[in-house]
């Protein structure tokens, strides 16, 4: 983890494929501290050539022997991704190389996805008689529809970046090795000169929309009034 100005960068680092040894790929307290240090956006990328190949099937086979512990880990992994999805700053995935399984679930938990033109996507779990365990099917269905999500999850198909763009799995393509610099540039453009309070109000509204429309309306109005009053005070101070 590192900070570049107001943008936080989180890199999955277990090269070359950035396998995730644990569904909870970062300690939640560490991530929370990082977010609360005042960053205005978070970029998630893989170190080296790949985003992440997901969980290592060999490790899973070992982990599953202690079923209780494994289900606990899986639950914590789910909580972590939920935390990312609900963050009130924008979270951008910069995707290069392979983005499989749990790696794809992390990417799908981000708000915006940039992918390099040669990136590859798949939910290969079915090949090991498993299924995405961190909510991947639901996350994919939200973007691509249920039919596409089920086809990809049940067939384990490998798709390229152009197809992923077509299926709305990613939002924008970049040239090779450009996903990270472009993600950081986008994060800066989105947040430069924007007070954290404004960023949070926008992200809260985005989140409320998918949960509770009436709450969303009330909170948008509340936030607007609050920000407008602050704006007026500031203008008076300047006079």
């Amino acid at each position: 983890m590192e900070r570049q100005g107001d943008v936080g960068l989180l890199q999955l680092s277990n090269p070359p494929q950035n396998y995730l040894d644990n569904p909870e790929f970062i300690k939640p307290e560490r991530l929370r501290d990082f977010v609360q240090s005042g960053i205005k956006a978070l970029v998630i990328a893989g170190s080296g050539r790949h985003f992440s190949a997901g969980a290592d099937p060999e490790i899973i086979q070992k982990q599953i022997r202690d079923a209780n512990r494994f289900s606990e880990q899986l639950l914590q992994g789910n909580h972590l991704l939920k935390y990312l999805q609900n963050l009130n700053i924008p979270v951008i995935a910069a995707i290069s190389g392979v983005c499989f399984g749990a790696g794809l679930e992390i990417a799908l938990s981000c708000h915006i996805r940039l992918a390099e033109e040669n990136a590859l996507f798949a939910f290969p779990e079915v090949n090991h008689e498993l299924f995405p365990g961190l909510g991947g099917t639901r996350l994919l269905a939200e973007l691509s529809g249920k039919t596409t999500a089920l086809e990809l999850v049940l067939e384990g198909d490998l798709i390229d970046a152009a197809k992923a763009l077509d299926l709305r799995i990613v939002d924008r393509l970049t040239g090779k090795k450009q996903s990270l610099p472009e993600a950081i540039k986008l994060a800066e453009k989105m947040t430069a000169g924007r007070p954290l309070e404004v960023i949070r109000a926008v992200m809260q509204s985005v989140k409320n929309r998918s949960e509770d429309r009436e709450k969303q309306i009330r909170q948008d109005v509340d936030a607007f009034v609050k920000l407008a009053l602050q704006m007026a005070e500031k203008q008076e101070g300047e006079r």
Partner: protein
């Protein structure tokens, strides 16, 4: 028909069963308190009682609307005892259009910014002139789009694009609006109104929101003739 509020900021006319609502404070068609007072009258009484089977929302002059009169809005928020109900009233005026079961078409030329775009996003169709310029610049002023701009933009452009556009606060032209699925079709300026009327004629009658694509296809066919 006379209404209790004199209509000056918004023109309202019924032609062949289609309601024509025109924002009328050129050049920018700014939305101030008087505008929202008239819009409330229209949405609560005039339009529901009119029996129109289609609705076209447009702006007088070169532009659709440059949005809310911010200085005045902030002043009202500070002076009224109930700023939230003031905002909610404005919001509900916009939501009215989304909830109608007759086709509601925004015919957009020139600038369509802030609350102007929020109003357009509550219409069922957005037809743009090639010169249309859209955007939600609120975050640049330390505010957020507070009258439904966020959820409505997500509905059309998707979550990721909506977050990006709102956070950046940048404007986008008609062509990009079409790519973002914020605009449904783009026409030369002098053909915009004609197409809006045509679309209203096509979609009115047994109108269903889920048939949107069919209506737009039918409009394309008429255009080609």
């Amino acid at each position: 028909m006379k209404t209790s509020v004199s209509q000056t900021k918004i023109l309202w006319e019924v032609r062949n069963g289609i309601g024509l609502l025109r924002l009328n404070a050129p050049p920018g068609n700014r939305m101030d308190t008087a505008f929202f007072r008239e819009l409330r009258q229209l949405t609560q009484a005039t339009i529901p009682q009119s029996g129109v089977s289609g609705l076209i929302v447009s702006g007088s002059g070169r532009h659709f609307s440059s949005g809310a009169d911010l200085d005045e809005l902030v002043k009202s928020i500070r002076s009224t005892g109930q700023p939230k109900s003031l905002l909610l009233n404005n919001y509900n005026c916009f939501r009215f259009f989304d909830g109608l079961n007759i086709p509601v078409i925004a015919a957009i030329q020139g600038v369509c910014l802030g609350s102007g775009l929020e109003l357009a996003l509550h219409c069922h169709f957005r037809l743009c002139a090639t010169d249309a310029l859209l955007g939600l610049p609120e975050t640049g002023f330390g505010l957020i789009p507070g009258a439904g701009g966020i959820p409505q933009l997500i509905s059309f452009a998707g979550k990721a694009k909506a977050i990006e556009l709102i956070m950046k606060g940048s404007t986008f032209a008609a062509k990009e609006a079409l790519e973002l699925q914020v605009a449904d079709a783009v026409f030369p300026k002098n053909e915009l109104m004609e197409n809006a009327l045509q679309l209203a004629a096509i979609a009115m009658g047994n109108y269903r929101k889920y048939r949107k694509k069919e209506y737009l296809e039918a409009l394309k066919k008429v255009c080609k003739k």
